[in-house]
């Protein structure tokens, strides 16, 4: 590692009205390294990256930035891109109906006199795609490839701009384990073969441990420490966590013993077809059961059909030509609409709370009561006092961090939004809750609280079905774990016998070829 840093950010202070988001933060990045930045949500990671990339122009913050030895005063993103700093945001910014090649060169078209040179566009795109290890045709539309591949297209796009410092904001947040592994491998390759410098913001400590050369921990807008991952003392995940939260977290999963009762939910021979490609089976003859007080996991790689299974059971909210039976307490129930599913005692908290879970332009209280308005209204008239009482109750009980229940839900952090979504479903008084990726994009401290909520639900005799892409999480909180692969349930393991390897084997089990 060379001794002159490629990037130094000195004493960066950024204030918003009433809040000091960053306070004298220092960051030093050396060429050719993968530098991870971690910290809880709201610690200031994203703000720091926005300062670096010119989203917050020079003058709106204090402190100095030096890149490649020269002082930088970026007025906008264009300035920073010009110097070779590219940022890949958590939410991908690709145009869905344009091709991969068109997206790569969007805003940077291969053209002469305003006319696109398609041969150059496609040829260069193909070269970039090879570089990132993506085997798709450059003419494929973005909608037709998965999120994992889209992430690679974003990187190819950055590479096309002759980038010297690549910033990846939560690059694997939306990816399954396989795609994540691919991406991390690509990052290593870019570092080792091209000497690319990367800054990676991540919550996933195992990934940080796997690829990064150094880690800077930020807490409450301040630099806590920069750790050398290749130093003499090994940096464990626990060390990073204790720096992030400012205390040592002995156990990431609360200890809990479930009292398991009789069966609550049983799904039998559930088959769902793709809503557009009608002949494709997304869920294929799946059966599963959840008992009272039991926390059941549903593991699977992205595209295995977990969310599709859950959403189709929950009022046919997904899919076409759905067949199969749903039983609650041993009796077959009609779940053909969301309203009926809720009435039958099923709740489903979505994996994408911003898009599917919350009305972001309405206050917390309105969201909390949205699914059970019938409970606090008579003859169609809402009892607003009762609404306030209910919402206040959940704010205290779930420890939603907000000064009031009149705050718009869009202004809350991810963890608090998730608590609002959970409150909303708990208020419908369900017998079984299906929680789809309940801790996605949430920081370590809030995750622990979500696990505690799940345990409280279990203690109250509810059945809980947790869908998660993080195997340690499932192993940490579930009594039993089902695995799905290619739309089928490929097995289930008790907590005692399950480990990541065994689950992974079941999760990747190929469809057995039919004899005919």
């Amino acid at each position: 590692m060379s001794s002159t840093p490629i990037l130094t950010m000195v004493d960066i202070t950024k204030e918003f009205p009433g809040v000091k988001a960053l306070s004298e933060v220092n960051l030093t990045v050396y060429p050719g390294e993968i530098h991870a930045i971690c910290g809880e949500n709201g610690a200031g990671k994203s703000t720091l990256m926005k300062v670096l990339s010119g989203v917050y122009p020079v003058g709106t913050y204090e402190g100095e930035i030096h890149f490649n030895g020269e002082p930088c005063q970026f007025r906008n993103i264009r300035d920073s891109e010009h110097k070779g700093i590219a940022i890949i945001h958590q939410e991908l910014a690709l145009s869905p109906y344009l091709s991969i090649a068109e997206n790569i060169f969007l805003g940077n078209e291969r053209a002469s006199r305003g006319v696109i040179d398609w041969n150059a566009t496609n040829a260069e795109a193909a070269k970039l795609l090879r570089m990132v290890g993506l085997d798709s045709d450059p003419a494929t539309r973005i909608v037709d490839i998965g999120v994992g591949r889209q992430q690679l297209v974003e990187i190819a796009k950055a590479l096309s701009k002759d980038v010297k410092l690549l910033i990846l904001d939560e690059p694997t947040a939306a990816l399954n384990d396989e795609d994540s592994a691919n991406l991390l491998a690509l990052m290593r390759r870019l570092r080792d073969e091209q000497g690319m410098t990367m800054i990676m913001i991540s919550h996933k400590l195992n990934e940080i441990a796997a690829v990064s050369d150094s880690v800077t921990v930020i807490r409450d807008g301040q630099t806590i420490k920069t750790l050398d991952m290749h130093g003499e003392e090994p940096v464990t995940e626990d060390v990073i966590i204790s720096l992030m939260v400012g205390r040592s977290l002995d156990n990431r999963y609360p200890v809990h013993t479930s009292t398991i009762g009789s069966e609550v939910l049983r799904v039998e021979n559930w088959t769902v077809h793709h809503p557009i490609q009608n002949e494709r089976k997304v869920v294929d003859d799946a059966s599963l059961a959840v008992r009272a007080g039991e926390v059941v996991g549903l593991a699977g790689l992205m595209g295995a059909g977990r969310t599709e299974l859950a959403m189709s059971v929950f009022g046919r909210a997904y899919g076409a030509n759905v067949s199969g039976k749903v039983f609650m307490h041993g009796k077959e129930v009609d779940t053909s609409s969301v309203g009926k599913a809720i009435a039958a005692g099923i709740a489903y908290a979505t994996e994408d709370r911003k898009r599917y879970g919350l009305n972001l332009i309405q206050p917390i209280k309105t969201n909390i009561v949205a699914s059970a308005l019938g409970k606090l209204s008579s003859r169609g008239v809402v009892d607003r006092n009762e609404e306030i009482r209910v919402a206040e109750g959940y704010r205290r009980e779930m420890r939603i961090k907000s000064p009031s229940i009149d705050i718009l839900s869009g202004q809350l952090s991810g963890g608090n939004q998730q608590k609002v979504v959970l409150s909303k479903w708990i208020y419908t008084d369900p017998d079984v809750l299906i929680l789809d990726e309940p801790t996605r994009g949430i920081d370590v401290g809030a995750k622990y609280e979500i696990y505690q909520i799940i345990n409280t639900l279990s203690d109250a005799g509810k059945g809980v079905l947790v869908i998660s892409s993080e195997l340690p999480e499932l192993l940490g909180i579930c009594d039993r774990i089902y695995t799905m692969s290619q739309g089928r349930i490929t097995g289930f393991l008790d907590r005692a016998e399950a480990d990541q390897e065994k689950l992974m084997v079941l999760m990747t089990k190929e469809r057995e070829r039919a004899a005919s």
Partner: protein, 389 residues
């Protein structure tokens, strides 16, 4: 006092529209040398613009849910025609004809609601088709004009409440009583909401501001009462009609499950579906409702003209849409209030009235109204962007 200033700047968007209305009134009061606010003009301001307010109530709900309705003007002409023919050709008593108009409006609304909610055709297309269909039908049944309507029917938009309680000086006592009751009810309702909020520890306006606001509104309402009590007839009947509708629809949007569902659909459609909201039925009912309100507007318009005219209701849909947007309804749906749309309608009305008194050419009036709409939405967006940062 710094906190009050801060508070005002934070809530500038909400108060901005009130301030805009007051400024426009003052402007025209000056430009017309005081003619705008003479008692008889105030009465006819209300009578002439009742249709915008009525249609805007339905339109707010449509726009909040993320749709649009281009057909209300044509429905007004068509239903107005039906109503007039019922009375003129078939000899139906006026009160049954009024009922008939409401039913006809609701039937037309369910026709359009069916296509939007159950077939899934965008409302823009459905109501564009409706605009053509019902304008055509209006011309077919009305010809050019159906006149000769009964006196009580014509009185709806032209008459005033009878002077049952005599006069105090020049002032109509009925109007004074209504005004006093109105102010009292408003103060009571505001106090009740505030107490409930305080009880539940919800942030409320600073006390000074709260009372200041109430005094301002009371002074405004008192002044309007004074002007109307001074006018030739006293309280116009349509004012009572519009007042009742405003109260009913504010209640409907704020306090009922149906109202909540409208905001839920407009704020995040998928989240609403996944929360168990019957989005189809809600969308259907939204269109039935605006159809019915178009029926009310047809009654008011036909009564005002004293005749059904095939060309009636021209550009009414645009007036109603403009009133909503001036009143802060979000173009993308999910946000909007009856009160805002009503003030938007009043701003349009004052513009109409003021420009007419000044004898500004009708063509220019249209251009000016267009500019005001554009400016209002632009200011709203700029304000949003500033507070969003």
């Amino acid at each position: 006092m710094n906190s009050v200033a801060q508070y005002l700047s934070k809530n500038a968007r909400e108060y901005g529209i009130w301030i805009a209305l007051v400024l426009i009134v003052i402007l025209f009061q000056i430009l017309t040398s005081g003619l705008l606010l003479i008692p008889n003009n105030v009465a006819s301001l209300i009578q002439q613009n009742a249709y915008v307010m009525i249609l805007a109530m339905g339109m707010v709900m449509v726009i909040v849910a993320g749709h649009i309705d281009l057909s209300v003007g044509s429905i007004v002409a068509f239903v107005g025609g039906i109503t007039a023919i019922m009375m003129d050709s078939w000899g139906v008593p006026w009160y049954l004809a009024v009922l008939g108009a409401l039913v006809a409006g609701a039937v037309i609304g369910s026709w359009q609601g069916f296509w939007v909610a159950y077939v899934g055709i965008p409302a823009f297309i459905v109501t564009l088709a409706g605009m053509l269909i019902f304008r055509g039908l209006a011309i077919v049944i009305v010809g050019t004009t159906v006149a000769g309507l009964p006196r009580p029917f014509v009185n709806i938009s032209n008459g005033s409440l009878p002077n049952a309680l005599g006069f105090v000086g020049n002032l109509d006592v009925v109007t004074l009583v209504i005004g006093a009751l109105g102010v009292a009810a408003l103060v009571w309702a505001q106090l009740r909401t505030r107490r409930a909020a305080v009880k539940h520890d919800i942030a409320v306006d600073p006390a000074g501001l709260f009372w200041g606001k109430i005094v301002l509104i009371a002074v405004f309402a008192g002044y309007m009462t004074f002007l109307l009590a001074n006018s030739a007839g006293g309280t116009p009947i349509v004012l009572v009609l519009v007042g009742v509708l405003i109260i009913a629809y504010t209640f409907l949007l704020n306090r009922t499950v149906f109202g909540r569902h409208i905001y839920a659909i407009g704020g995040n459609l998928t989240a609403a579906i996944l929360s168990g909201v019957n989005t189809r039925r809600t969308n259907f009912m939204i269109f039935v409702n605006i159809g019915m309100l178009a029926g009310v507007a047809a009654i008011v318009t036909t009564s005002r003209a004293g005749a059904a005219v095939a060309a009636a209701g021209g550009n009414y849909e645009l007036d109603a849409i403009a009133a909503c947007f001036i009143g802060g309804t979000a173009v993308t749906g999910g946000i909007g209030k009856i009160s805002g749309a009503m003030i938007g309608a009043l701003i349009m009305g004052v513009l109409n009235m003021g420009l007419s008194i000044m004898a500004v050419d009708a063509a220019w009036q249209q251009s000016i109204k267009g500019l005001v709409l554009l400016l209002a939405v632009a200011l709203d967006l700029i304000g949003k962007r500033r507070t969003g940062r």
